[in-house]
C-alpha cells in the first residue's frame, strides 16, 4: 500500500479527469435542479409564461392546504400499514427458504421475480385482477359461492388500501426477503448447532438466536421499505387514480397533480421541499439506527 503511494501521487490530476464526467452530469441534472427547486418554491411559476417572485407565499398557502396535509396523512397511514406487512411476510418467506435444501433456489427466484417487474406494469396487471367485471378474484369468489355479486375492490378507501397492500406484498416482499436472507446467513451455524444439542426446538432457535442477531438487518429492511413506501406513486396513480373522492392520494401524487394538472410548478416545488425535508429526517433516522456501534 505505502509503496503504491509513490506510484499514485503524480497521477492525481488524471484522477480528477476520470471523475469529471460523472461529476458534471450529477451537477447539471441533480445539484442544479435541487437548487432550482428551492428557488422555484419562492416563485409563482406557471407551466408556460413568466415566473414571478412571491417570497414565502407558497409555503404559507401550503401550511393551510388541507388537501396537501391530507395526502401526507394518507401516505403516513399507507406506509405504517405496508411496511410491517412487507416485513412480516418477507421474514416468513426468508425463514422458509434460508436453508440450503433441494429446489430452494427455484422458490427464492419465484418469490423474487415480481421485484423486477415495473411498479406501473404490476399496478396495471392487478387493476385487471381486481376489476369487478373481468377480474379473476371476484369471479372465483362468486363461483365458490362466497359472494353474491362482484366486489368493487378498489371502490372504497379501505378496501382499495387493502387491495394495494396485497399487490405491493406480491411486488416487493421478495426484495426484503433477500435483504433478510443475507443477514440470516451471516449468523454462525455453530450457534444453531449448540442450541440444537441443548434441545432447543426450531422456534426457540428463531426467537433466541435468529431474531436477536438480526437487529441491524431488521432496521435496514424496515427503513428501506419505509422510505420506499413514503414515495409511493404508481400504484395509487394507476389503481385508484387517487379516488374515491381524493382519499387515496399520496404526497408524490399530489405534487404531480399540483404541478402538472393545475400547472402550479412553484407550489409543487414548495411541496417538494417539504417532502425532501421529511425524507432527510427519515434518512437521518436510518443512519442513526444503522450506525456502527463498535
Amino acid at each position: 500500500m505505502l509503496a503504491l503511494l509513490g506510484l499514485r501521487a503524480p497521477r492525481g490530476r488524471a484522477g480528477l479527469l476520470f471523475i469529471l464526467p460523472c461529476l458534471a452530469v450529477t451537477t447539471l441534472f441533480f445539484i442544479v435542479p435541487l437548487l432550482m427547486t428551492a428557488w422555484m418554491s419562492l416563485n409563482n411559476w406557471p407551466l408556460l409564461g413568466h415566473p414571478s417572485f412571491t417570497g414565502l407565499k407558497n409555503y404559507l398557502d401550503l401550511f393551510h392546504d388541507a388537501s396537501f396535509w391530507g395526502s401526507v396523512l394518507f401516505t403516513v397511514k399507507y406506509t405504517l400499514v405496508v411496511t410491517p406487512a412487507i416485513f412480516l411476510f418477507a421474514f416468513a418467506l426468508a425463514l422458509l427458504v434460508h436453508r440450503g435444501v433441494r429446489f430452494v433456489g427455484i422458490f427464492r427466484t419465484a418469490y423474487f421475480l415480481p421485484v423486477v417487474i415495473g411498479m406501473t406494469t404490476a399496478s396495471l396487471l392487478w387493476t385487471w385482477l381486481f376489476n369487478d367485471q373481468v377480474g379473476i378474484f371476484s369471479a372465483v369468489l362468486m363461483d365458490l359461492g362466497w359472494i353474491d355479486e362482484p366486489v368493487q375492490w378498489l371502490g372504497d378507501t379501505y378496501s382499495a388500501l387493502a387491495s394495494i397492500v396485497v399487490m405491493v406484498l406480491w411486488k416487493a416482499a421478495g426484495f426484503t426477503m433477500v435483504i433478510l436472507l443475507v443477514g440470516m446467513q451471516a449468523i454462525p451455524v455453530d450457534l444453531y448447532e449448540a442450541a440444537s444439542l441443548d434441545g432447543a426446538r426450531w422456534w426457540a432457535q428463531v426467537r433466541h438466536i435468529t431474531i436477536p442477531l438480526m437487529r441491524r438487518t431488521f432496521a435496514l429492511a424496515l427503513t428501506m421499505s419505509f422510505i420506499g413506501s413514503f414515495l409511493a406513486f404508481e400504484q395509487f396513480f394507476v389503481m385508484t387514480r387517487g379516488g374515491p373522492f381524493n382519499s387515496t392520494i399520496t404526497v408524490v401524487h399530489w405534487i404531480y397533480r399540483a404541478s402538472f394538472t393545475y400547472f402550479k410548478l412553484g407550489y409543487g416545488a414548495a411541496m417538494s421541499v417539504v417532502l425532501l425535508l421529511m425524507l432527510l429526517v427519515l434518512s437521518a433516522v436510518q443512519l442513526y439506527l444503522l450506525r456502527d456501534e463498535r
Binding site: L7, A9, R11, G12, A14, G15, L16, F18, I19, P21, C22, L23, V25, T26, F30, L34, M36, T37, W45, L96, H98, G100, V101, F103, I106, T109, A110, Y111, L113, P114, V116, I117, G118, T121, L124, T127, W128, L129, Q133, V134, I136, W170, V178, I179, V182, Q185, I187, V189, L220, M224, L231, F233, I255, Y256, G268, L275, L276, L279, L280, S283
Partner: protein, 300 residues
C-alpha cells in the same frame, strides 16, 4: 436461481435417522415442499394468468365473467396492440432507445468515475465521493419540476436523450459506488506491471482493468436497464409528445381507455411485452442483480 454465499446447513437437515422418526420427517418434508410450491404458484399466478389471457381472442379476453380457459389460441390482442396509437413498435423502440442510452451512459460514466475514485488520490476525493453518494438520500421525485424546466431550456424535452440523461443521473450514485468497489477488488500489482510497460491511465483502464470488473459492469447495466425500462413518473412529466411516449406511459394511456371502455386483451399483451425483457434478463443474469442488491444493502 438465487444463490447466496455459503448456505448454512443445520444439523437436522443432514442426517436422516431411520426408525419411527423417519415417517415424521417425510411428512414434514412433504408439508415444507407443499407450502413452498403453493407460495410459488401464488407469486407466479398473476403473470401466467396475464400471459394466458393475452393469447385469447379479444372478445374472450374481455368476457365478463372471465373465462378460465380460452376456446382457442389467438394473436388478435397482439395484432391490435401492433396497431394501437402510433403502433406498439414505436413505443417499444422509444423505451428500448431510452434504456440502451441509459445503460451506455451509466456504464461509461460509472466506469470512469469508479476507476478515478478507486485508483487516484486527489484533493477532495473523499468529499466528492460522499457528495455523489449523498444524492441517494434525496428522492428524485422532489427535483422533477426543475428538471422539466431545465430540459425545456436545453431543448431536450420530448427527446430520448433528455430522458436518458435524467435516468443516468438517478443511476449514478449506486453505479459509481458499485464500480469503485469493483476496481478496489482488483489487485494493484496487475496495474503496476502495466504502468512499468508504459501504459497510459486510459489504456490501462480499457485494456487491463475493464475485463477484470465484468461482474460489476453487469450489475450496473442491469440496474440501469430495469430503472429506465420501468420508470413512469419522470417519463410522464418530461415527455408530452405522444409519439415519444415510453411503454409505461403508453400503457397508462391505453388503460385509461378510449370512450371509457378498456381493451383488456390488448392491455394483457402490452403487460406481457413489458414484463418479458425484465424477466428474461433477470433469469439469465440474476447472480449479478442479487450481488448489486446485497452490495447496496451492505453499504447503507
Amino acid at each position: 436461481m438465487i444463490e447466496l454465499a455459503p448456505l448454512s446447513m443445520r444439523p437436522h437437515d443432514v442426517i436422516d435417522t431411520p426408525g419411527h422418526h423417519h415417517w415424521r420427517r417425510l411428512g414434514l418434508q412433504a408439508a415444507y415442499y407443499g407450502l413452498c410450491s403453493v407460495l410459488m404458484l401464488m407469486f407466479l399466478f398473476p403473470i401466467l394468468w396475464s400471459l394466458l389471457t393475452s393469447f385469447e381472442t379479444a372478445a374472450e379476453a374481455s368476457a365478463s365473467p372471465p373465462l378460465y380457459w380460452p376456446s382457442r389460441f389467438s394473436l388478435e390482442n397482439y395484432r391490435n396492440l401492433a396497431n394501437y396509437g402510433q403502433g406498439i413498435g414505436r413505443y417499444l423502440g422509444n423505451s428500448a432507445g431510452v434504456a440502451s442510452m441509459t445503460v451506455l451512459f451509466t456504464l461509461v460514466l460509472a466506469t470512469l468515475g469508479g476507476y478515478g475514485f478507486s485508483r487516484f488520490t486527489f484533493p477532495g476525493r473523499h468529499a466528492l465521493f460522499m457528495l455523489i453518494l449523498a444524492t441517494l438520500m434525496i428522492p428524485f421525485q422532489s427535483i422533477l419540476n426543475p428538471l422539466f424546466v431545465l430540459l425545456r431550456l436545453l431543448h431536450l424535452q420530448d427527446t430520448q436523450l433528455g430522458l436518458a440523461l435524467v435516468y443516468t443521473t438517478f443511476q449514478l450514485p449506486f453505479a459509481v459506488f458499485m464500480m469503485r468497489n469493483a476496481f478496489d477488488a482488483v489487485p494493484r500489482d496487475i496495474e503496476e506491471a502495466a504502468v512499468l510497460d508504459g501504459c497510459s491511465p486510459l489504456g490501462l483502464l480499457l485494456r487491463v482493468m475493464l475485463p477484470l470488473v465484468g461482474p460489476g459492469l453487469a450489475t450496473v447495466a442491469l440496474f440501469a436497464f430495469f430503472g429506465s425500462w420501468n420508470e413512469l413518473l419522470a417519463a410522464l412529466i418530461l415527455i408530452s409528445d405522444s409519439r415519444a411516449f415510453t411503454l409505461p406511459v403508453m400503457l397508462i394511456n391505453a388503460q385509461s381507455g378510449q370512450l371509457g371502455s378498456v381493451n383488456w386483451g390488448l392491455m394483457q399483451a402490452g403487460i406481457v411485452l413489458s414484463i418479458v425483457p425484465c424477466a428474461a434478463l433477470f433469469l439469465l443474469l440474476q447472480r449479478y442483480y442479487i450481488q448489486g442488491l446485497i452490495a447496496g444493502a451492505v453499504k447503507a
